[in-house]
């Protein structure tokens, strides 16, 4: 598994922010809300969630729009939208450095930034990417070079309570047996990610206690 690192409350003007890295892939997520919502997007019984993702180089194309869509629909399921009607929660993700793990880094950065902002959620969530090599080995959080050589790359977003599947994204061909093996491997790795979240937040609150 690659090294995870994060810094919370990185941006002073956002309600919550997180700079997250997995190996050489780095993403910065910033959360603002629940707050003002445009009349067009106002929903009478819940918060409106808007996610925007900017790549580090080049223009936003359909790949980035699809990524936004996955993150929006995952986060929508997890945050308690019905507690904040007629408001909007904005999550902005900026890709800082790319080494193939954009989806999982962005999702994890989004989760930590929501926790940093204090947006109420049903559970935490974590994304783990794995790839299946031609020799049928499963590598967790591969580098871009390893992904290029692999047969398939799968990313699973799992919930913090029971490690069930919130989202699944795959490139390449995986038969049922390999799919289940990848899912199990990701579920095991996700436990380490959730522990990492806990440590990051404990560090934040420990620092706050020291000041007071």
């Amino acid at each position: 598994m690659s090294k995870h690192a994060c810094e919370l409350n990185f941006l002073s003007r956002s309600d919550g922010s997180a700079l997250y890295s997995i190996g050489n892939t780095v993403a910065l997520a910033s959360v603002n809300g629940p707050g003002e919502v445009k009349k067009f997007n106002r929903l009478y019984n819940r918060a409106y969630l808007e996610v925007s993702y900017s790549p580090s180089t080049g223009q936003s194309m359909i790949g980035e729009r699809a990524l936004e869509s996955v993150i929006t629909r995952t986060v929508e399921q997890v945050i308690l939208v019905h507690l904040h009607p007629r408001t909007a929660v904005n999550v902005t993700i900026q890709e800082m450095q790319s080494d193939g793990l954009e989806l999982s880094t962005s999702v994890n950065a989004a989760c930590l930034s929501l926790l940093d902002a204090g947006v109420q959620m049903k559970s935490t969530f974590a994304a783990v990417t794995c790839c299946l090599t031609p020799s049928s080995t499963i590598l967790i959080e591969p580098t871009a070079a390893e992904m290029k050589e692999s047969v398939a790359v799968a990313t699973f977003v799992l919930d913090g309570q029971a490690l069930n599947v919130l989202s699944a994204h795959q490139e390449g061909c995986l038969n049922a047996e390999n799919f289940n093996a990848c899912l199990k491997a990701c579920q095991t790795a996700a436990k380490d990610v959730f522990n990492f979240y806990r440590q990051a937040l404990e560090k934040k609150y420990h620092t706050c206690n020291e000041i007071s």
Binding site: A66, Q77, N164, V165, L166, S167, H169, E171
Partner: protein
């Protein structure tokens, strides 16, 4: 308005739930029953390959135009395949004029991913002269009536259209740097895989529906798409957020999707054979 229609308009959630309690949907289908599919090919005569697919009321047209392009520097011996899905405002009151929205972009990315993952076309087969000329297939998928399940309809349409494509022979004279394109379209594409997708909507814990209509999708909370190859083995899955699912449910989905694979591929083969017989 009858009292039933009043109920449907003012309380859509409880109206819909009342059907599910009896294991049925408002259109009378069981929870795992699929709608009939109709496929027509060659519907866009100006395109190199085309098809029109109806899954229930969802109507999708696919037209494939082939253009000659220069291969990318990174892959000098590969052609291009560019799927693009558009939802026209006439298809549904929820779709507005303007640039493609989330649904269209998500479906375009899904098609791009499936075509690549299942190895439908070897991009090297689309190359005419390395570093110089290659085919670029623009696959335009247009939804003119949206009643749910865009993924399956779009994939079926693009697969039927690809198997219907006829390209002209291209010859390149290196000495004079002259490209000549034959006037007749005769060459079919080498289709290496025939993936078939099946979409399921998660309504709640324990209730899943196969082949959702627009109403099923709006009442449900998330989709799961499983894509199988023609031999029934799982190729790829797509779950873009939505309610969480237990991993073993995916095995059930794969079992149900297996039956659909033969139905769809046989239908496409039959339509193609009929076309060959008549032309």
């Amino acid at each position: 308005m009858t009292s039933l229609e009043t109920w449907k308009t003012f309380e859509p959630e409880s109206y819909y739930k009342s059907f599910l309690e009896k294991n049925k949907r408002p259109d009378g289908r069981g929870l795992m029953k699929v709608r009939p599919i109709t496929i027509k090919i060659g519907t866009v005569t100006t395109a190199e390959g085309s098809s029109t697919v109806r899954v229930g009321h969802t109507t999708v047209m696919c037209g494939i135009k082939a253009e000659i392009a220069t291969p990318a520097l990174r892959n000098p011996d590969e052609g291009f395949i560019v799927p693009n899905v558009e939802l026209y405002p006439c298809s549904s009151p929820k779709i507005k004029m303007g640039p493609p929205g989330e649904k269209a972009m998500g479906t375009s990315q899904f098609l791009k991913n499936v075509l690549h993952s299942s190895g439908v076309l070897d991009l090297k087969d689309l190359c005419i002269v390395p570093n110089k000329l290659a085919w670029c297939l623009y696959c335009d998928v247009a939804c003119i009536n949206y009643d749910g399940n865009l993924y399956d309809a779009a994939l079926t349409a693009i697969m039927a259209a690809l198997q219907n494509v006829r390209l002209p022979v291209v010859s390149y004279d290196a000495e004079n740097d002259k490209t000549s394109v034959a006037s007749e379209r005769t060459l079919p594409l080498m289709i290496k895989a025939k993936p078939v997708s099946s979409t399921f909507t998660i309504y709640s814990d324990g209730i899943q529906l196969m082949d959702p209509t627009a109403e099923d999708e709006s009442q449900g909370s998330g989709e799961v798409v499983v894509v199988l190859l023609e031999n029934g083995s799982l190729c790829t899955t797509h779950k873009p957020g939505g309610q969480l699912i237990l991993p073993n449910i995916l095995d059930d989905f794969v079992k149900l999707a297996k039956k659909r694979v033969k139905v769809v591929n046989n239908l496409i083969d039959r339509v193609l054979t009929e076309r060959m017989d008549t032309s």
